[in-house]
Amino acid sequence: MKQFLEGATSIAKTVALCRPGVIAAYPITPQTHIPEELSSLIANGELKAEIVNVESEHSAASCILGASATGVRVYSSTSSQGLLLMAEVIFNIAGLRLPVVMCCVNRAVSAPINIWNDQQDIMSVRDSGAILFFAENIQEACDLHIQAFKLAEDPEVMLPVIVNIDGFVLSHGYEAVELPSQELVDKFLPPYNPIYKLDPENPLTFGALVGPEWYMETRYAIHHTMLNEVKSKIPKIAEEFTKMFGRKSYGFYEEYYLEDADTVYVTFGSLSGPIKDTIDRLREKNEKVGLLRIITYRPFPAEIGRILSKFNRVIVLEKDISLGHTGGLYSDIVTSVYNYAQNSGISKLPKISGYICGLGGRDVSLEEIEQLYTEKEIFSSKFIGINEKNLGSYI
């Protein structure tokens, strides 16, 4: 039944329904309500799980690494500096092929320290081998968590999944949320029972030193898994979820008013909301505009190149920047469109503009979003709403 719940709380309640065995908890604004809620569920007997109050995020990720390797379903969550501190462990978890599920409540990265929302943090582990989902709203964040466990633990996948939600905007916001029953989640999500684990009955060695003759195949295998097994299972799991839970789940991406569009916005996360509002307003003035909302960022769905190649103009809007280059999403989209073009032989390429907005929690207004629609010039990484007064020279 529908409840009006805070984002972090609803994620924690959803995770509890997924029956994690070991949870690592470490505080960092703005994700802390998730471990807090999980702790209270355990304290009140509503969740039978072991929670470990570790002494750092590096240890949080390491703790669930160990528990997962012992054959137990695990969970943890973090933000910003915590994710960066976990970075080497996330690469390690993916390399060890452990199906760890985590939530990253996206927040700006220091310095300067800033506790508000943007998506620079997750970009630090974009290449780690972890599957990356982005939720637009709280309901989707919960639904993606349930699907994340199923996907991660599939014997043909066995890779970590990180569900990303916008810090404060979604973690601290309240929305109407439908929490499924335990029976329904149990039906959808089979228990986690891996073949290879730390078990004295069958002693195995994990984490050996692997030399040049073998190492490259381990990376190829993860890449191949991402582009094949994961790619094929995401839509299937989303479909199965939609049927069983009665709520639409999109899998790779959501297409909003793309059928007859001429110009299309592309983004991920909660920024999609104000863009949809802008599209609705422009549609009232018969503007042929739509939105392609990316939900699965890694593996990066190759069809995005095909979908976007038929438009005249593409406006990529994102809350991260690879300093000295462009936004992460922008560079992936241009690559994907160009790859599709050179393989399909289409001659006319869309104009693709990249905009950086909302860093460090700065709000992005509908006007600013709409103003991009009429912008003629093409940019690869234009910052929106920069306040010149804050800029100067070193001396």
Binding site: G21, V22, A24, A49, E50, V52, N53, V54, E55, S56, H58, S59, A60, S62, C63, I64, L65, G66, A67, S68, A69, T70, G71, V72, V74, E88, V89, N92, L96, L198, D199, P200, N202, P203, L204, T205, F206, G207, A208, L209, V210, G211, W214
Partner: protein
């Protein structure tokens, strides 16, 4: 053939005469097959699990350089969740992996009182990367990053005291051990794994390559460390000192130092003052642990 009971088998690529490979085998043979070992990156991990070879006959996991203690806490909790609390969990590392980069995770493991046996193999420097000073390198040790030179007598600080740090964490059992008393070492492991909560065994693990002595002398060097009062053999149970290996008299520290290349320069005139630092440290040990038998 190699007997089944050996849980750390030959075929590893440690240097001949390695104190740490001996200690590691003694530990796991004593802990027994119902044990999961978590190991930080370091010599022991590198020379015992170079793919496609592993010397381990028990479940073993290596993740990173500084997280064995955190990985172990996850394993212990997973075993608890699975109702398999009879399985022993060992979190182990060399001195760098334990006292420096992995220190925070071990502090957390102890503070939370996980039912895990922590083991530090102290060879007094980062050996896997080719002998660089660590937080437990003694004063004067000549290493790659604390070299002896015109303006340097080698390492300038004294060893981080892991025993007192463990005491401060209220570990339920703390003991020191070394390879020249293998049975004592194994008895302490067997005792520790039966005790609930955070257990810590601190093992003096001589390293022929890093310390500069002939591989056959690893046992001799360990013996001298004990007999000079440098490395007291002690046991604490719930914070109370319950056992100390007594000595009739102390051998001069020079006997220990002169066998090792890393200390040769301490015998030069301008470095003689450093020997005093060693003697002072030993005096503290002798006093604190009452090492010398009272001649009544």
């Amino acid at each position: 053939m190699i007997d089944e009971k050996i849980l750390f088998t030959p075929g590893h690529t440690a240097c001949a005469g390695c104190g740490q490979s001996l200690a590691a085998r003694l530990v796991i043979d004593a802990a027994g097959p119902n044990t999961i070992v978590v190991n930080n990156t370091g010599c022991l991990e590198v020379f015992s699990t170079g793919y496609p070879y592993t010397s381990w006959r028990v479940p073993f996991i290596h993740s990173l350089f500084e997280n064995a203690a955190a990985v172990a806490s996850g394993i212990e909790k997973a075993l608890k969740y699975l109702g398999k609390t009879d399985v022993n969990v060992i979190a182990q590392a060399g001195d760098g992996g334990f006292a420096d980069i992995g220190f925070q995770a071990f502090s957390g493991l102890w503070e939370r009182g996980h039912n895990v046996l922590s083991i530090c193999y102290d060879n007094e420097a980062y050996m896997n990367t080719g002998i660089q000073r660590s937080g437990t390198s003694p004063v004067g040790a000549n290493t790659g990053t604390s070299p002896v030179g015109r303006n340097s007598y080698g390492n300038i600080t004294w060893k981080k005291n892991l025993i007192d740090i463990a005491l401060a964490h209220r570990c339920s059992y703390i003991a020191t051990a070394t390879i020249c008393y293998p049975v004592d070492l194994q008895n302490k492991v067997k005792k520790a794994i039966k005790i609930k909560g955070a257990k810590f065994i601190y093992i003096f693990a001589p390293c022929p390559l890093g310390w500069g002595y002939d591989p056959s002398l690893s046992i001799k060097i360990a013996e001298l460390a004990v007999e000079t009062g440098l490395f007291p053999l002690i046991e604490y149970e719930n914070g109370v000192l319950t056992k100390v290996k007594k000595l009739k008299e102390l051998k001069p520290i020079e006997e220990f130092l002169k066998l090792q290349k890393r200390f040769q320069h301490l015998f030069q005139e301008e470095n003689k003052h450093l020997l005093q630092i060693w003697e002072d440290f030993i005096k503290v040990n002798v006093e604190k642990y009452q090492i010398l038998e009272k001649s009544n």
